[in-house]
Amino acid sequence: MMKKIIAATLALTLSMSMGNLVYAVEDKSADIKATYQAGKENTDTVYSVDVKWGSLEYTYSSGVTKSWDPTTLKYKEASGTSSWTCQEGADQITVTNNSNADITASLAYDKTDSNITGTFTNSKIGLKSAEGTNVGESPSETTTLSLEGALSDTKAEKKEIGNVTVTISDYVGTSSNYKWDGNGDISWGFLKTTLTDGVYTVEKECTADNYSASIFYIYNKVNSQEKYVIKDGTIKAEGTYSLQKVNSGNGSYGVSLPSTMALTGKTIRLTVDLRNENNPTLTVKVI
């Protein structure tokens, strides 16, 4: 760089010293242009679910009332209503989702004492992702365990009578009104509801690298003329695609998943977002 500056200075000195020989130089420039392209965002799901347990210690009262009969010199028993009671909060189980994914916590009661059954106010707790929430404000829900049946062991004192198991899974929705009709080798099914109204999902295992035709179309089973097709007609890779609502026919029936997706042995998740009537979308994700 220094060398170039010295050379330029020398040239200028020379031209000025020559006196009668002057060259006119026209400035020229070229624009430098840049375009931003967002990098592919890879977000792994991190599961972290806290389960807070009440003590699950219950007391059984048979409800039998015993009294003394001085005429017969025997005890009399009158049966009443049996009951299970516990300290406040002892029957509660609270699940908190700190994951970056919607989850379902499934609760099951396993009997140790065959006479006693347990039921939950909610045995399938759906919790939204903690994304976008402040620490300490993660989605959380509490369910309550109630017991029924008689405890026959009259000597029982804090005796194990059962177990509660909480199992975490990706959110398990119920069947929605929207059918996902697969063609090719993928069987059709119902889109499942998610924790967000108007958003549905389905997951399918793939047995081939590509599905060249008719992988799916989506329609409302209540009004089968209400169909959704891919707006540009082609899925190229994972990503979000605009859908188009059509009211007759099958639209761009025959949407394919390309071989470049190498799907064999993988599971695809289709998420249909119908919240915005003007821009319904489909997100294709390989999981």
Binding site: T65, Y75, G89, I103, T165
Partner: protein, 189 residues
């Protein structure tokens, strides 16, 4: 450090015994589980209420006073009789002076028997041979199928002193009272 550790242990014990909060490590995978035992305690029936049932069986409480015999002795010096009166006595028919108390309660009792004369007959003394009767709990060994055993105890009343009212015929000269108390209470008094 040792103190802190001890404090932590105590806090943990308290936390568990309060029965409301127990938190395990987070579940960090789909399909992950957490498990907790459910415990049951049998609460016996409430304490059986005490039922008092006491029978008192009275003898007729009819006594007869027989005055002492009068012995007359002739005195030749005064030409008069000198009288000497013997000691009178109280008698009754068999069992007439008996008080029997039967406890059918599901609690041990003590029966206190008191006897006293009254009015113009206070010169007569009424005595209770055994003034404190212990009565067992009748529910001992009893179930809903097997009967217990009533407990019975008796005492007798005896009188002493002269009945001066020569016209007395089943005159009321006093009364006998039976008082019932819990045995454990009575023993504390």
């Amino acid at each position: 450090m040792k103190k802190k550790a001890l404090t932590l242990c105590v806090a943990t014990i308290l936390g568990l015994s309060s029965g409301t909060v127990a938190m395990a490590a987070p579940i960090n995978s789909a399909g992950g589980t957490d498990r907790h035992a459910v415990y049951g305690t049998y609460q016996p029936e409430g304490e059986v209420a005490t039922v008092y049932a006491v029978d008192v069986s009275w003898g007729s409480m009819e006594f007869t006073y027989t005055d002492g015999a009068v012995s007359k002795t002739w005195n030749p010096s005064t030409h008069q009789y000198t009288e000497s009166v013997g000691e009178g006595s109280w008698s009754n028919q068999d069992g007439a002076n008996k008080v029997t108390v039967t406890n059918r309660s599901n609690k041990a009792l003590t029966a206190t028997v008191e006897a006293a004369t009254s009015g113009s007959y206070t010169g007569i003394t009424a005595k209770v041979d055994n003034d404190s009767l212990s009565l067992k709990d009748a529910s001992i060994g009893a179930t809903t199928a097997v009967a217990g055993t009533a407990s019975t105890a008796s005492t007798t009343i005896s009188l002493s002193g002269a009945l001066t009212d020569k016209n007395a015929n089943k005159a009321k000269i006093g009364s006998v009272t039976v008082k019932i108390a819990d045995a454990d209470t009575a023993s504390q008094e």
